[in-house]
Each structure stands twice: as structure tokens, then as C-alpha cells.
């Protein structure tokens, strides 16, 4: 059982006009097995929250804390956070020219597990994970995210999550740019990992569509850099009907 605890998190970015505060006091606790949907309008700071937890150097934490099972996440390097059990499925996965998917996956899994996976079982493990996500085996010889379609990038993110077996995963708009079939395949992947590994999930989304496939236990409305309302799945239904207007003007 793991717990990610975010307390009073304030984050700013450096702009030409100086520091600009984006997160203004975020409090959120995610336990293993729980799915928390973070829903909010564009520009409200959802990706900033995700990147700040993962340790992207662009974001400066001005106050607050993030801990995973009591350990100070903000004190860890980016790779240490991943080794501690955090995973971020990115809204815009990055292309790494000349590095094949198979080399990338093997390197990452070796780093996370602390030893190289056994060649024989590893090949099978990757093959199976890929076929469950309806990915062509030829995919593993392509370069990381290079020339991938939007849907391929998202499947590739979930494939990594499946192999890296994190404790807590942050999925940043994993649903964006997916057609219905891809959305279903990706959602099934997330649910599979959740069941098998008792994963805790922060599911960031703009739309309620993905919540039909991945059932949230908690829904948090995010606006202006903080959580402005919290509830159960019924809150998502309300958002579907009314949108974010009342939160943005408030």
C-alpha cells in the first residue's frame, strides 16, 4: 500500500516578465488502488501539477511538499522519482531520434528494477504487453515516439507503465487525440495495470469521455491552479452537463 501526498503545493515558471505562479496551493492524497480524476479547463495548471511531481526542471516549487510513502519526492532527481514508483504518462511524449523502442524499454526496466531483465522472459513480456495494447511487434524497432501517430504515442506510454510497474501513475490527458477504439484499448491497459498492481492513479483529463472506461473513485475540479471542488463520480456527470463555466468565473 502506497500513498502520494501533495500538500500546499505552489509552483511557478520563469517567464520574460519574471516568475509566474501557476499552482496556488494544491492538496491531494492518492492511495494505492484509488483513481482520482483531475478535471479542469485548458490552462488551469493540470500539466504543471503532473510535471512538477515528475520533476521537470522548468517548474520551480515555491512552497509545499510532495511525499511518496513519507519520502520527500521534491528532494529526488527525476530518475529517482521513477525508481521510487512514480510514473508520468505525458500529454506530449518526446521523440528520441535513433533510440529504438526496444533499447529504450530494456534500459528503463533495467534502471527501475536494478538489474537487467532475463533475455528470454523479457522478450515474451514485451511481446505480450504489446499485443494486449494491439501494437504491431515491428513497433519495437522504431525510434522512440518518432513519427508515431497520436494514438501510438499514448499506447506506448501505457506500454511503459505496464512494464515499469509503478506504484502511482499520473496520466496527463492520455485520452486526448484517441479515437473510440484506441481509447478503449488504452483504458483497458490502464485498468489491467490497476488490478494487477494495485496502482494508484491520477487521471488528468479535460473531458468526461474516458471516465466511461476508467471509473474514478474521486473527482477533483481543477481551476486557476488549485482544486476548487471535490466529490465522487457524480461530480463528473455534473461537469459533463454544465462544463467548467462556473469555476472559471468564480
Amino acid at each position: 500500500m502506497s500513498t502520494l501526498e501533495i500538500k500546499g503545493l505552489h509552483v511557478s515558471v520563469v517567464t520574460e516578465e519574471g516568475a509566474k505562479e501557476i499552482l496556488r496551493g494544491v492538496d491531494l492524497t492518492i492511495n494505492s488502488g484509488e483513481t482520482h480524476a483531475i478535471m479542469g479547463p485548458n490552462g488551469s495548471g493540470k500539466s504543471t501539477l503532473a510535471y512538477s511531481i515528475a520533476g521537470h526542471p522548468k517548474y520551480t516549487i515555491t512552497s509545499g511538499s510532495v511525499t511518496l510513502d513519507g519520502a520527500d519526492v521534491l528532494d529526488m532527481t527525476v530518475d529517482e522519482r521513477a525508481k521510487a514508483g512514480l510514473f508520468l504518462a505525458m500529454q506530449y511524449p518526446v521523440e528520441v531520434p535513433g533510440v529504438s523502442v526496444s533499447n529504450f524499454l530494456r534500459t528503463a526496466v533495467t534502471a527501475i528494477r536494478g538489474e537487467a531483465p532475463k533475455v528470454r522472459t523479457w522478450v515474451g513480456e514485451v511481446k505480450e504487453a504489446m499485443s494486449q495494447l494491439s501494437m504491431d511487434p515491428a513497433f519495437s524497432e522504431r525510434n522512440v515516439n518518432e513519427g508515431f501517430s497520436g494514438g501510438e504515442k499514448k499506447r506506448h506510454e501505457i506500454l511503459q507503465m505496464e512494464l515499469l510497474k509503478p506504484k502511482i501513475a499520473i496520466l496527463d490527458e492520455t485520452d486526448s487525440g484517441l479515437d473510440v477504439d484506441a481509447l478503449r484499448i488504452v483504458s483497458e491497459g490502464v485498468n489491467r495495470v490497476k488490478t494487477n498492481q494495485d496502482l494508484g492513479i491520477m487521471l488528468i483529463t479535460h473531458y468526461t469521455r474516458i471516465l466511461r472506461y476508467i471509473k474514478p473513485d474521486f473527482v477533483h475540479v481543477f481551476a486557476g491552479g488549485r482544486i476548487v471542488e471535490e466529490g465522487g463520480p457524480e461530480l463528473a456527470t455534473k461537469l459533463e452537463e454544465n462544463g467548467y463555466a462556473e469555476y472559471v468565473t468564480a
Binding site: 526542471p57 535513433g98 528503463a108
Partner: protein, 362 residues
């Protein structure tokens, strides 16, 4: 004859266009007629397969096959009394690479002249491995008869004091194909001129290069391709990385499409990756076109810094910073290295690159 040429010899001053990037004071006198050059052949073949001969010949019996205005190459032609001649028989299909090794262990300047004749429809891979710390000027002329297919790999794995100035000229006949890989990772000053001329249609030249400069290194590659027959093709792709504030690289890509060269198809590319702030990469593509009747002609040149987003992405998957950097840089070069198709050399080059990186990080 020697005297006549010497009076024509103009010592480069550094103001001439071909010399303006080169630090002449680091040439150890290769360009200076006051400095005498040792006349010796330090290149040694390992195994010589059936269908190939390697002989040492009197230079006068084998006049140069091409024209040059490069002053140091002129000195090579003047100064070399012997020449290494490598001949590949017509129709020979040589599967194993032909390795030639040069390991120079002293710094007195020397010249080296080589001619490589590939008979009609012959196939071969020629690998030259340079290591140690020599100071030398070389010219290699390749003469590809029709239908010949030659892959040439030259490795500059010099130690840090070496000076190497060279011209590698290919004459490519009808339907012949010349592919070269110029891999420069060592040396104090390296200046290589990979040049190509065509003598018949259907001919192809593909010139690949990889260079990695660290502190105190000047690595210069000056590609020159003359299209003056119809229907020839050229491709150029050179990639370089620079690590260390005094690392310098120069890449020149001169491609000339003459009026007679209808149907030419050419593309040249140079990419540089700057890994530290003071490092400087000069990149000058130059395409001159005298006929509109061509298949295609293009060039691209980019010089950029290391992409921190790639580093973040890899690290967010648990990969430590240093390993992530190595992965990105190996990835950058893999486009070139993977085309070598010689596993032992691929591994060696990638390891050398890892080491070059590690040295600066440490």
C-alpha cells in the same frame, strides 16, 4: 620538376577561402615548404584476399588521376617517391573487408600516397584504421571502373597530438557506386577533403561522416562533389558532436552541378550537436546549379544544443542522467553508425563516443 612545382607553391596564409577555418599554426609544418616531409609508407594491409593485390610502386609510374589545388596535397604528390597501390580485379566479389592499418608513433611530418583501382563490376569494402600520434599528409585516389561498388571506411582514432591532413578523391564511372564513411574521433587537428568526380551516367556517391570533437581538437571535413556528367547521384550526411569549450569543427559541403549534368540527383546534410557552450561548429553547405534539368538538389544544415526534453523523458523512466545523455548521443549518431554494417567497428565507435563524453563529465 620538383623545383618548378615548388616555385608555384603558395604557402597558405590562412586568408584563402579553403584555409580560413584551419589553424595553420597547428599543422606542424605540413603546409610549410621550409619543413621537410618524410617519405615513407606507414599503411599496412592485414589480410589480402584473393582478387586483391597490394603493392608498393614507384610514384612516377603512377601519375595522379585527378586535379587538385590544395597546397598540402600538392606537397604529397611532390614528396612521395613511392605509392601504395591497391587493385581489385574486375568482377571480384570480396566479401570480407580489406583492412589497412596505420599506427604512427612519432611526430615527424610524413607524406603518404595511395591509389585504389576497382575493376569493372568488382565489389569490396576497404577499411583504413588510423591510430597513434603521427603528423602526416595523405592522398588517396579511388578509381572505380564501370559497375564497381566500393565501400570505404576511414577511422581517425588518433591520440590527442596527431595531425592528419588528407584528400580522399573518388572517380566514379558509369553505374559504379562509391560509399564512404569518414569517422573522426581523435587527433589535435584533422582536415579531410572527401571529393568526388563522375565519368559516366548511373553513377552514385554516398558520403557519410561522423565526428566528435572535445577540448583542444579541430576537426574539419570539406566535402566537394562535381557533377559534370548527366544522370549521377550524390548523397552526403555528416553528423558531429562537440563537447568542451575549445572544441572546433568545420564542415563544408560544396556540390557543383555543371551545365552538362542533366538529371543530377543530390542531397547533402550536416547536423551538429553542441554539448557545451563555448564549442563552435561551422557548417557551410554550398550548392551551385548551372542546369535546371535535374531530378533534385537540396541541402540542410543544423547546429543545435542538447535537447533537455529528451533527457527529461528518459530520466522520467528511471534512466540516470549520464546514461540518458549517452543514449541520446548514441541515438544522434546511430543513423550513420548503423549503416557501417560492421559490428565490431560499430561497437568500437560507440564506446569511443561514450568515453569522449565521460571524460568531459568527469
Amino acid at each position: 620538376m620538383a623545383l618548378a612545382t615548388l616555385t608555384n607553391y603558395m604557402t597558405p596564409t590562412g586568408r584563402e577561402e579553403p584555409w580560413r577555418f584551419t589553424p595553420l599554426n597547428r599543422l606542424a609544418g605540413l603546409h610549410d615548404p621550409q619543413v621537410s616531409l618524410r617519405d615513407r609508407i606507414s599503411l599496412e594491409p592485414l589480410d589480402i584476399p584473393v582478387g586483391v593485390s597490394v603493392t608498393i610502386e614507384d610514384a612516377e609510374a603512377f601519375p595522379s588521376l585527378s586535379e587538385t589545388s590544395d597546397q598540402i596535397v600538392i606537397r604529397v604528390r611532390e614528396g612521395a617517391s613511392k605509392l601504395l597501390l591497391l587493385t581489385i580485379e574486375s568482377n571480384a566479389e570480396i566479401r570480407e573487408p580489406i583492412f589497412l592499418k596505420r599506427e604512427v608513433l612519432d611526430l615527424s611530418p610524413e607524406v603518404s600516397r595511395v591509389q585504389i583501382n576497382a575493376g569493372a563490376n568488382s565489389h569490396a569494402i576497404i577499411v583504413i584504421e588510423n591510430s597513434g600520434e603521427g603528423v602526416f599528409a595523405e592522398e588517396i585516389e579511388f578509381n572505380l571502373a564501370s559497375g564497381a561498388n566500393i565501400k570505404f571506411i576511414t577511422l581517425q582514432e588518433w591520440s590527442s597530438r596527431a595531425v592528419h591532413v588528407a584528400r580522399h578523391h573518388a572517380i566514379v564511372a558509369r553505374d559504379a557506386s562509391f560509399t564512404s564513411f569518414v569517422i573522426t574521433v581523435g587527433g589535435s587537428l584533422v582536415r579531410i577533403l572527401p571529393t568526388v568526380e563522375y565519368t559516366g551516367p548511373g553513377s552514385t556517391a554516398e558520403l557519410f561522416g561522423l565526428y566528435f570533437a572535445t577540448d583542444g581538437q579541430h576537426l574539419e571535413h570539406r566535402v566537394h562533389i562535381d557533377h559534370d556528367v548527366p544522370g549521377a547521384k550524390s548523397r552526403v550526411n555528416y553528423k558531429g558532436a562537440l563537447n568542451g569549450d575549445s572544441a572546433r569543427t568545420v564542415w563544408i559541403g560544396d556540390v557543383f552541378i555543371k551545365a552538362a549534368a542533366q538529371g543530377t540527383d543530390t542531397y547533402e546534410l550536416n547536423r551538429n550537436l553542441l554539448l557545451s557552450h563555448g564549442a563552435r561548429a561551422d557548417s557551410v553547405p554550398n550548392l551551385e546549379i548551372e542546369t535546371g534539368d535535374i531530378v533534385g538538389a537540396g541541402h540542410a544544415s543544423t547546429t543545435g544544443r542538447f535537447d533537455d526534453e529528451q533527457l527529461f523523458y528518459l530520466m522520467s523512466r528511471g534512466i540516470p542522467a549520464e546514461q540518458a545523455r549517452r543514449l541520446v548521443i548514441r541515438g544522434f549518431f546511430s543513423e550513420i553508425v548503423s549503416k557501417l554494417n560492421l559490428e565490431s567497428i560499430e561497437v568500437r565507435i560507440m564506446e569511443r563516443i561514450d568515453n569522449e563524453l565521460a571524460e568531459v563529465i568527469a
